[in-house]
Symmetry: C2
Subunit: 342 residues, 2 copies
DNA sequence: TGTTAGCACTCTTATAGTGCGAGTGCTAAG
DNA sequence: CTTAGCACTCGCACTATAAGAGTGCTAACA
C-alpha cells in the first residue's frame, strides 16, 4: 500500500538517520542522489508516512526519525544485503587464523572481534553444556575431608567442583567409585547425568562399596549443582560510546540486564534457527526497549547449536550487522564442526 | 604545624564533603555541632588551610573541597577508625555462612558482598596460582588428534587446556607419559613446572617412550600458556551511580582499565602487606586519577596471600571502607586458611 | 591579639528573552 | 500531481538578570 516513492523516501530516511543520528528533514533529503522530486513533495510524503506510523518527529517542527514500525518495515522489506567489504572479511577470518583447537576459545575470540567490528556489544552462546557427552569422570582427593570432582566432556570442556568427603576414607574406595562411575556414565550427556546417577549407579555402588553413601551423596550434590552458562561477551562497554545512550540510569540497567546470565534467554530466544531481529519494545526486557538485538544461530555438527547476538541502539546499522552475522555464523559452524570432528 | 582548630576544621570539612559531595562553606560549617567559633573565624582558617594546600575552591567564591593533600592528611592523621555497625558485620559474615569449601567461591562471594556494602567497585585477588602445588596431572584424549591436559592443584583449582596430539598415537603411550609426569611433578609449584618440564622430565621421557617428542612438546606448550589471573570483581557498574563521575569518556577508560587484568598489578601493588590507600594521582594509572583505591592483603596459611581492593571516588568514605576491609581481611584469612588446612 | 560582625564583591545557577536556522504545513500557481 | 512560496514552530545558542551562597577584608570588640 506504500507507493514506490514512499518506499524510497522511507528507505533513504532510515539510511540517513542510521548514519547521522540526526532527524532528517525534507531539504536535506532532497539533496540526496536518487531523489528527483522537490522538498515540498517530500514533505507531503513524509506527512503521509508519519500518519501511517512509519516516521516520527522529535518535536513539532523537527525532521523525521523512523518509528519502531518504520524500522520494522525497513528491516522486513527494504534491507538489501550487501557483500561485506574486504576488511571486514579479513577481520572475521582472523578469528580462525591461528587454528585454535578449543571451541570455547574460538567463541571467546569471535565475541571480541565482532564487538570491535561493530562497536556494539556482542553476546555469544556456546553449545548447551547440558548436551555435552561425558568423556571421563575423576575425583582427586585434596585433604583428608575434601576432594575435587572433575568431568571432562567430548568437547574438551572441563567441569570441576570441590566437595567434602568423609574423614578417614580409604583412597581405594574412592578409586572404586570412580571406576564404577566411569563404567556407567561415560557416553552419557550431562543432562542425563542427573537421572543416571540416581538410578543405576546408586544401585551398583551400594553393592560394591562400604560407606558408599556419604561419599556418593556429596559427590552427587557437587556434580549436579547448576552449571555456568556458556556465554561470552565482547565490547560490554561499547554502549558507553553510543550517542543514542546518554542517560546513565538507562545505561546502568541495560548493562545490569546483560551481565545477568539468567536473563540471557530473554535476550536471545533459544532454539530459534536462523536470523532474527528484535527492535525496541519487541524485546522481552524493558531495559532493552531502546535497543535492537540481532541474533543468529550456528551449528556444531548435527546436534549442537549456539547463538550470536548483537545488541545496539535501534538506530543500528542493520544492513552491515546482518551481513556480518550471516558470514560469521557460517564460518563458526564450519570451523567448530571441524574441531568437533577432528 | 597545624593548630588544633585547623585540624578540627579540616576534619569536619572532609567529613562533610564525603557525605554531601557539595563544597562546604564557612556558614554551613559553623552550624555543625562541635564548632564553637564563628563563620568569620572559619573563613580565616580555611584561607590558611587553602594556602597550605589542604583545601581547594572549585571557583573563586565557592565553598572548599579537600585537595589530594587534604585527603592524604585526613587519612594519615585524622582517621579515627570506628567499630562497624552491626548490619555490616552481619552482611560480611553472611559470606561464610553456608560453609563453602572452595576458595574461589568464597572470594567471588566476598567481592559481591563487598561491592553491595560499599556501592563501590571491589577487586579481589586470589592467591597466586603460580604458587599452587601440583596435585595431579592427567591427559584425556578427545579425538584422534586432540586431548585435554588437566592440572589439579592442592587448593582444588583445576587448569585445563586442549592440545593437539600426533595422529595414530597408541593410548598406552599417553598413559605412560602421564605416569611419568605425575611421578616427577606432583608436589611441584606451577611456577616451577616450567623448568622442571624442561630439565628432568624430558630426559626420563626420552628414555621410556618412543615418539615422545611430538606429544610432549605440544603438551608442554599447552601447559605453559599464560594462566588466567585469579581476579574477581564486584559491582563493576557501581561507578555509574557515583555522582562524582559523569564524564562518559572518563568512565569508559576507567572501566576499560579495570577490566584489563594486565593492569591489575598497577592498581593493586602486589606483595604489599597490610592496608594501603592511594588517592587520586597517587595511582599509577592516569585513568584512575579521580579515584581512590584502598587495598588490603589477606593470608591463606603461612605461604599464600591475596588482596582486596576497593575503587571509588576520591570522595570515598575512607573511615567505613577501612573498617570493612580490615574486618574482611581478617575473616577471609581465617576462613581460607581453615579451608586449606581442613 | 585573637575573634567576630558587617559589607562589598564574586561566581554559580536558574530563568527569561532574543535571534537564527532548520524544519514543517498549507496554499496557490504551474 | 508537483512545486514554489510563505507563515509559523521549535530547538539552540547567547545574553541579561536576579537570587543565593560564599569569600575576603575591615573595623570593632573582648
Amino acid at each position: 500500500m506504500l507507493t514506490e516513492r514512499q518506499l524510497l523516501i522511507l528507505k533513504v530516511t532510515v539510511d540517513d538517520y542510521i548514519q547521522s543520528a540526526q532527524p532528517v528533514g525534507s531539504n536535506q533529503l532532497a539533496k540526496k542522489s536518487g531523489i528527483t522530486f522537490s522538498s515540498a513533495t517530500i514533505r507531503n510524503e513524509m506527512a503521509d508516512l508519519e500518519s501511517m506510523g512509519f516516521l516520527e518527529k522529535t518535536h513539532t517542527s523537527s525532521g523525521r526519525i523512523p518509528s519502531e514500525r518504520g524500522y520494522r518495515y525497513y528491516v522486513d522489506h527494504l534491507l538489501t544485503p550487501r557483500a561485506l567489504p574486504k576488511e571486514d572479511i579479513v577481520q572475521l577470518r582472523s578469528i580462525f587464523e591461528d587454528k585454535i583447537s578449543e571451541t570455547e576459545e574460538v567463541i571467546k575470540r569471535s565475541a571480541m572481534i565482532l564487538s570491535e567490528l561493530t562497536n556494539y556489544t556482542s553476546i555469544l552462546l556456546g553449545p548447551d553444556v547440558q548436551r555435552h557427552i561425558v568423556k571421563k569422570l575423576s575425583i582427586v582427593p585434596l585433604t583428608s575431608n575434601s576432594a575435587v570432582a572433575i568431568i571432562v566432556t567430548d568437547s574438551g570442556h572441563v567441569e570441576n567442583r570441590v566437595f567434602p568427603i568423609p574423614e578417614g576414607l580409604d583412597p581405594s574406595e574412592i578409586e572404586k567409585m570412580v571406576n564404577i562411575l566411569n563404567e556407567r556414565l561415560v557416553g552419557v550427556s550431562l543432562y542425563d547425568l542427573h537421572s543416571r546417577l540416581e538410578q543405576e549407579t546408586m544401585m551398583i555402588m551400594k553393592q560394591h562399596m562400604q560407606r558408599y553413601g556419604e561419599l556418593f551423596s556429596t559427590f552427587r550434590q557437587a556434580v549436579l549443582l547448576p552449571r555456568e552458562k556458556n556465554v561470552y561477551y565482547g565490547g560490554k562497554l561499547n554502549i558507553l560510546n553510543q550517542p543514542d545512550f546518554h542517560d546513565l540510569h538507562k545505561i546502568r540497567s541495560l548493562m545490569d540486564v546483560m551481565e545477568e546470565t539468567d536473563h540471557i534467554p530473554m535476550i536471545i530466544p533459544v532454539g530459534n534457527q536462523g536470523l532474527h531481529i528484535r527492535i525496541g519494545s519487541e524485546n522481552a526486557l524493558s531495559a532493552m526497549e531502546d535497543c535492537s538485538v540481532i541474533t543468529v544461530s550456528y551449528d556444531i555438527g548435527q546436534e549442537q547449536t549456539g547463538s550470536i547476538a548483537i545488541v545496539g541502539p535501534k538506530r543500528m546499522d542493520y544492513k552491515r550487522i546482518v551481513s556480518l552475522l550471516d558470514t560469521l555464523s557460517g564460518d563458526l559452524s564450519k570451523e567448530l564442526t571441524r574441531i568437533l570432528r577432528s
